[in-house]
């Protein structure tokens, strides 16, 4: 299986996104912004279609348009303080509206379907280079801003008092989310991408550890989910995105059941 170059490409990108998605996802989940991840992953479809329309890299198109939408969400937060849920509806309307208009115009020379469900076959060499750059820059930025991001998620007021430029870091974080989404869409597809961001973190949270162990376990679960999804989808000849989402739900369920059984066993022993 790994003798095929398309499978090597897919494996390489899968390893990168198994690291990147939970590193971004942990901050989205803990800030209760999981729906922002979902909205932005849908928004990326507009960037993909615009990229395809102008014969440019759809991954780059997704990154740029999703960054723009992430920035727009931050900007609108100031205007819709009391109706924050409206912000996601506005961004979703803008982006999905753009995507549907471009697709239905009949001007696309390529098929955007593979981006909806994910595909093992479509990762090109230029995608790999772009995804590697996005992942490396994102992980480096996350390392540099780690403590600021932890505090903005945990206690934003305390972060402000300590001198953290919360608004600027929120904008930077929007770009990081866009980066994770752009890196992932080839394999996972737009529709289930948010599960890659949220579910490994949800699974790690079941272990009730500190922040750093939770982050490490999120990456481990993400690695298991994505690689299992990739290999099994190859043998079943199904889209990797959907199957990876199913694996991540199954792993979450297994950990929850295991935790319940373990605590029951411990209670019985006492």
């Amino acid at each position: 299986m790994l003798s095929y170059s398309f499978m090597q490409n897919a494996l390489f990108v899968s390893v990168l996104i198994s690291i990147l998605c939970p590193c971004i996802g942990i901050f989205l989940v803990l800030r209760r912004y999981s729906m922002i991840g979902d909205t932005l992953s849908h928004a990326s479809l507009a960037g993909i279609t615009i990229g395809l329309l102008y014969n440019q890299s759809p991954v780059l198109g997704a990154f740029l348009f999703t960054s723009l939408c992430g920035g727009l969400i931050e900007f609108l937060r100031g205007y819709f303080r009391k109706n924050a849920d409206l912000i996601l509806s506005i961004v979703l309307a803008l982006s999905v509206g753009t995507a549907i208009t471009v697709i239905s115009s009949g001007k696309l020379r390529a098929n955007a379907d593979s981006f909806l469900f994910g595909s093992i076959l479509t990762v090109t060499r230029s995608d790999m280079i772009l995804i590697s750059i996005l992942s490396a820059v994102s992980v480096l930025t996350l390392i540099l801003l780690y403590h600021q991001l932890v505090y903005i998620a945990y206690d934003e007021e305390a972060a402000r008092i300590a001198g953290v430029k919360v608004r600027i870091i929120n904008y930077i974080f929007s770009v990081l989310v866009a980066s994770a989404i752009a890196a992932s869409i080839r394999i996972t597809g737009v529709l289930v991408l948010s599960s890659m961001i949220a579910l490994p973190v949800a699974t790690a949270l079941q272990l009730e550890r500190g922040f750093r162990p939770t982050l490490i376990f999120s990456v481990v679960f993400s690695f298991i989910d994505i690689l299992t999804g990739l290999f099994v989808s190859y043998y079943l000849n199904v889209a990797p995105g959907g199957f990876t989402a199913l694996v991540s739900v199954a792993v979450l369920a297994a950990v929850m059941i295991g935790k319940k059984v373990y605590s029951g066993f411990r209670a019985a022993m006492v």
Binding site: H147, V150, E208, F211
Partner: protein, 224 residues
């Protein structure tokens, strides 16, 4: 240390004002409790002092290098945010750019939580959680400590410990304290001054004056 002049604030930028005509001064070494009914603007006043909000009119000046802030027991702690006491303090130390890691242990020792460093914040009792937040606020040796209802959700024994600690920080270490209070007994017993907020405006008085002016006429002298 804090000087408010004709301060007014409205969340919409126009009347009605949550606070209006606020004028007070907090000197170095004071322990001021802010009292008032629910919704009278106590937390808004604290947010103005912390510069989270900007005055609609007038001014508020805070002359200090470092402020320690103890919020009401944070929602994040209660929601099971996966962070240990040590991680919470260590990240904060890095935000304050304090190189010496020993400040974490020192802060925990000061509040009597040295054995809880590895515990998750969400698993601490109300009193322990509040002490951990005080330990965080003490990092970097602040000159001003601002607390928002420090005894909320805390049992009686822990309340005594927490107020003893705050009072010692004020009396022994000379840290200026501003505390939003719903606990009248603690405010009267510990503060050097009380700022009473009512109807959007306020009045600074001593605890003794507060008891005679605001509590006795209402028949609430039992609290004091």
């Amino acid at each position: 240390m804090i000087q408010a002049e004709n301060l007014a604030f409205s969340y919409t930028g126009s009347p009605p004002f949550v606070l209006d005509g606020i004028r007070f001064a907090v000197e170095d070494g004071d322990y001021v409790s802010i009292l008032g009914d629910n919704g009278c603007g106590k937390s808004t006043l604290v947010k103005l002092i912390l510069r989270f909000l900007r005055p609609t009119r007038g001014s508020i000046e805070v002359k200090t290098k470092r402020i320690g802030y103890v919020p009401q027991r944070s929602d994040a702690a209660a929601s099971g945010f996966p962070i240990t006491v040590h991680e919470m303090l260590d990240s904060y130390r890095r935000l304050l750019k304090l190189r010496d890691k020993s400040v974490i242990e020192e802060s925990l020792n000061r509040v009597g939580l040295s054995g809880c460093s590895g515990a998750l914040m969400g698993t601490l009792s109300g009193g322990q959680s509040q002490k951990a937040l005080i330990a965080r606020a003490l990092m970097g040796d602040p000159e001003l400590l601002i607390l928002d209802e420090p005894s909320a959700g805390v049992d009686q024994d822990s309340q005594r410990e927490i107020y003893g600690l705050i009072k010692a920080l004020n009396a022994v270490r000379g840290i200026t304290v501003v505390s939003v209070e719903h606990n009248l007994e603690a405010a009267v017993a510990n503060s050097t001054l009380i700022y009473h907020l009512s109807g959007g405006s306020g009045h600074m008085c001593t605890p003794r004056q507060y008891v005679s002016e605001y509590l006795k006429p209402k028949g609430d002298e039992d609290h004091a």
